[in-house]
């Protein structure tokens, strides 16, 4: 019976080499969470911060986050993209509160003492820098050796590809291309093939669960046909769809690639394994699934990419989005969806993408329940932190797969997690 051992263990015990039985402590320990932020979000990794189409004009900016650190992504007067930390060099004020805007003329100003910064993050003005002249005397001012050039905002390293913006606090981070690896880069370029993107809008949700659970959710092809019975009921998901699971060399990133079969053919019970499956069910309004294949798909009808640690790239038939993971302590994260289309979309395609967006997001037919089960997972972890999961479907190791009946991608991620965390 569980519970004979300590309920709140001091240390995590995880047999060497195991990657499928993840200790609940990995999701509940605030110290691990800090180490994850340091090692995954702030060092050695590129994090997603936005799309170029969100800041098309010089001076345009958005406020977003890398891990739990607020950053500003801004296009300067020469068209270059800068990412700076949203903390004033003077007294540490998180000075930018607007979530978007244009600062071409003003740059950024901290409200507390009016320190002014350029769009590149350089300090360009400090009130009373040389003091105040009064009665022939200079009162106050910064010390003579104070140089504005020493006190700019914290500038992140920036990489863009196909209209997607990544940033890193780590000046020594490898190139974005090396970070993604050739296999993932191929799927990335398939979606972001150089066409201008058209922002359709945002959805935001706060999910009360550990951020890794969202990475796992999109590395888990076991659940869609079982949790998301809407997918099954209306023929969008079958466990026997032609599919592939692929990872980068480190097993941190992954792609789930699938091609929808004949939707009309009712799946036999051994394929669905869902008790509530209703083969006869029809939509009252079939426009939810008005799917039109696009040339850039080159076959697959769905490619779900997890780029560790910060983003999920979604193509589910005609619906495309980025889903940004922003941790909020060990027990919650904000999940920001940016839906987009392409410059060459006609009105009908835009409408189709908007309509299919009903399937996804915080209220989506096949996404709302992901948030729900992640919340319940966290609740389970918190009550018995000495326990562990059993992610052993398809074996105990991690390797690419040509089918969906496996939790191999989750194991791959935890192999990487253990290595980087030294646990």
């Amino acid at each position: 019976m569980d519970g004979a051992e300590a309920v709140f263990p001091d240390e995590m015990t995880w047999p060497a080499g195991d990657v499928g039985r993840v200790p609940f402590l990995a999701y509940t320990n605030p110290e691990f969470h800090k180490a994850e932020l340091e090692r995954f979000f702030y060092r050695d990794h590129w994090c997603y911060v936005g799309l170029e189409a969100e800041i098309p004009e010089p001076g345009d900016f958005i406020r977003t986050a890398v891990g739990e650190r607020s950053v500003i992504v801004v296009r300067d007067d020469e068209g270059a993209i800068n990412v700076v930390e949203n903390v004033c060099a003077h007294r540490g004020v998180q000075f930018c509160r607007e979530r978007h805007g244009n600062r071409l003329d003003q740059g950024f100003t901290c409200p507390y003492h009016q320190w002014k910064y350029t769009l590149q993050g350089d300090l360009r003005g400090v009130p009373f820098l040389r003091g105040l002249k009064r009665d022939g005397q200079v009162q106050g001012g910064m010390p003579p050796d104070f140089k504005t050039s020493d006190h700019g905002l914290n500038k992140l390293k920036v990489a863009t590809r196909g209209g997607v913006i990544f940033a890193s606090f780590d000046p020594d981070v490898e190139s974005l291309e090396d970070f993604l690896g050739p296999e993932m880069l191929g799927y990335f370029d398939r979606l972001f093939d150089g066409r201008m993107l058209k922002i359709l809008g945002y959805n935001r949700q706060r999910i009360p669960g550990n951020w890794k659970l969202m990475q796992e959710n999109i590395k888990d092809p076991y659940h869609p046909g079982l949790l998301h019975t809407w997918f099954v009921t209306f023929g969008l998901w079958r466990a026997d769809n032609k599919s592939e699971l692929k990872m980068d060399a480190h097993h941190r990133h992954a792609a789930m690639i699938s091609t929808r079969g004949q939707a009309a053919a009712a799946a036999p019970a051994e394929v669905t394994q869902v008790s509530s499956f209703k083969a006869s069910m029809q939509l009252n309004d079939a426009r939810f699934l008005d799917i039109v294949p696009e040339p850039w798909w080159k076959g697959p009808t769905a490619v779900m990419m997890t780029l560790f640690p910060s983003v999920i790239l979604q193509q589910q038939v005609n619906s495309v989005s980025t889903r940004h993971i922003q941790p909020r302590g060990h027990g919650a994260f904000d999940f920001v969806w940016t839906h987009f289309g392409f410059e060459d979309d006609d009105e009908a395609m835009t409408q189709r993408r908007l309509r299919q967006a009903n399937l996804f997001g915080p209220a989506g037919f096949v996404s709302a329940d992901d948030g729900e089960v992640i919340e319940l997972s966290q609740m389970g972890f918190e009550q018995k932190p000495f326990h562990r999961t059993v992610a052993e479907l398809g074996g105990r190791d991690a390797a690419d797969s040509d089918h969906m009946i496996t939790e191999t991608l989750i194991r791959g991620m935890y192999g990487y997690w253990r290595k980087v965390m030294g646990l």
């Binding site: 979530r99 978007h100 922002i199 359709l200 809008g201 945002y202 959805n203 935001r204 949700q205 706060r206 999910i207 009360p208 949790l227 998301h228 019975t229 809407w230 009921t233 509530s276 209703k278 069910m281 939509l283 009252n284 309004d285 426009r287 939810f288 904000d334 839906h339 835009t350 908007l354 309509r355 967006a357 009903n358 997001g361 915080p362 209220a363 037919f365 996404s367 709302a368 329940d369 948030g371 729900e372 089960v373 919340e375 319940l376």
Partner: protein, 156 residues
């Protein structure tokens, strides 16, 4: 102005709230005409002109499909809803149609948990006179709480 009187309009909102708060989901589509529009949209998208809605239903059939999803396919932690809808403000009215808006707040209570403010914003509505009484031709639910408390399952 002519057309339907204010009390009748208030009654429409009161009936809408009562049906949703009692979880009588089958009644929800019946508040709309066949060729209707229901959009649940964050204030951010609405004010910046982004077309994406969190939910966008363009017919009574889509509303019925959502009801099926709530009942049969969408796993969720069950909860009670309590709508508080303010007095509607009429912008324009003819004998057949009212353009109006109303503030709303939805309080959510999960089983064994304390109540929380779940959603708040305003309805921007087109109400039409039909043989079956007043119905919504269009309902835009513009919500202020852009950061949603995990997920939205039931209609607002």
């Amino acid at each position: 102005m002519g057309g339907p009187d204010y009390a009748e309009l208030c009654q429409l909102y009161a009936r809408y709230a009562a049906a949703l708060d009692a979880a009588r989901w089958d009644e929800w589509p019946e508040f709309f005409v066949e060729d209707c529009l229901y959009k649940l949209i964050p204030r951010e998208n609405h004010e910046r002109g982004f077309p994406l809605a969190t939910l966008m239903f363009e017919s009574k059939g889509m509303l019925q499909d959502r009801v099926y999803g709530i009942r049969e396919t969408l796993f969720h932690d069950p909860y009670y809803q309590r709508h508080v809808i303010g007095a509607p403000l009429i912008h324009a009215a003819t004998a057949e149609r009212i353009t109006c808006e109303a503030n709303y707040a939805v309080l959510r209570t999960k089983l064994s948990e304390l109540p929380t403010v779940f959603s708040l914003g305003r309805y921007i509505d087109e109400v039409v006179v039909t043989d079956g009484g007043l119905k919504f031709a269009s309902k835009l639910v513009v919500y202020d709480n852009e950061l949603i408390a995990n997920s939205i399952i039931y209609p607002i």
